[in-house]
């Protein structure tokens, strides 16, 4: 059996790639995809830890993460559609109505 470290390191790398996507991209849809990437990295860490502890709790929590991710994705994309209808752009830099 492979060491847990490999999986945790891979999970950390994927999470960092997701953070990088959120920082550097200026497209709301791609930012949301990066958030999905981060959620998946955390799922991977949960499953690896569940395997290492021999407990099903980690795998069960992944089911809840998936449910929350699904809810987050649909609500977020509905907001993106609404914003795009009003402003005709997906650039978060353009969304500064609250800026004084």
């Amino acid at each position: 059996m492979l060491s847990l470290n490999y999986y945790l390191a891979l999970s950390a790398l994927i999470f960092a790639i997701g953070v990088m996507g959120v920082i550097i991209r200026r497209n709301l849809i791609i930012i949301m995809m990066s958030i999905e990437l981060m959620l998946n990295a955390v799922n991977l860490a949960f499953v690896a830890l569940a395997r290492s502890h021999g407990s099903m709790d980690g795998q069960t929590i992944v089911v809840f993460v998936m449910a929350v991710a699904a809810a987050e994705a649909v609500v977020g994309l509905a907001i993106v559609i609404t914003v795009f209808r009003q402003r005709q752009t997906l650039d978060p830099q353009e969304m500064q109505l609250l800026k004084g």
Binding site: G18, M20, I30, N40, L77
Partner: protein
């Protein structure tokens, strides 16, 4: 190098390449397709960690349902793919992400070594639908009900949000 390690390295390389492709593609459609590939590789990694049920759920829910919504929204909005390349900002983002990755790896590796030596062996039905359901409907009963309420709220919320005129 045993077969397990080689499999892991191949999967990890594919996952990292497809994840980088998600954030570096200029066309959102290509990003979405790369994300499908990345989610699929995560599902295969779940299989190597004895989580077959979660691997199936991952492909069904993520690569199936969520990505279809993403593709629908991209095609519906048809966003302008051209965004300005800001090299200073990209450098800062890469630097921040690199530091974060190094810190996370430095954080998890000493812990992981300790944890792993404890319980290595698990039963053959570990990760089976039966085990998952047992855990879901006994220890996690309340969170399960809350999750169903959450999905209902999300359902009502998107109907309200996406309706053109209230």
């Amino acid at each position: 190098m045993n077969a397990e390690l080689i499999t892991f390295y191949i999967l990890a390389t594919l996952l990292i390449v497809s994840s980088l492709s998600v954030i570096f593609q200029r066309n959102p459609i290509y990003s979405a397709l790369s994300l499908v590939a990345a989610l699929f590789f995560v599902a295969v990694l779940f299989l190597t960690l004895q989580a077959p049920m979660l691997a199936i759920l991952q492909i069904l829910i993520y690569a199936g349902a969520i990505m279809v919504i993403f593709l629908f929204v991209i095609m519906l909005l048809n966003p302008d793919a051209r965004e300005p390349r800001r090299f200073l900002w990209w450098g800062f983002g890469s630097l921040a992400a690199g530091i974060l990755a190094l810190e996370l790896i430095a954080l998890v590796i000493p812990r992981g070594a300790k944890v792993w030596s404890g319980g290595g062996a698990v039963g053959p039905d570990f990760g089976s639908p039966k085990k998952l359901a047992e855990s879901l409907f006994t220890d996690f009963m309340l969170p399960f009900e809350v999750a169903s309420v959450l999905l209902l709220v999300a359902l009502i919320g998107i109907v309200v949000l996406a309706k053109r005129e209230a």
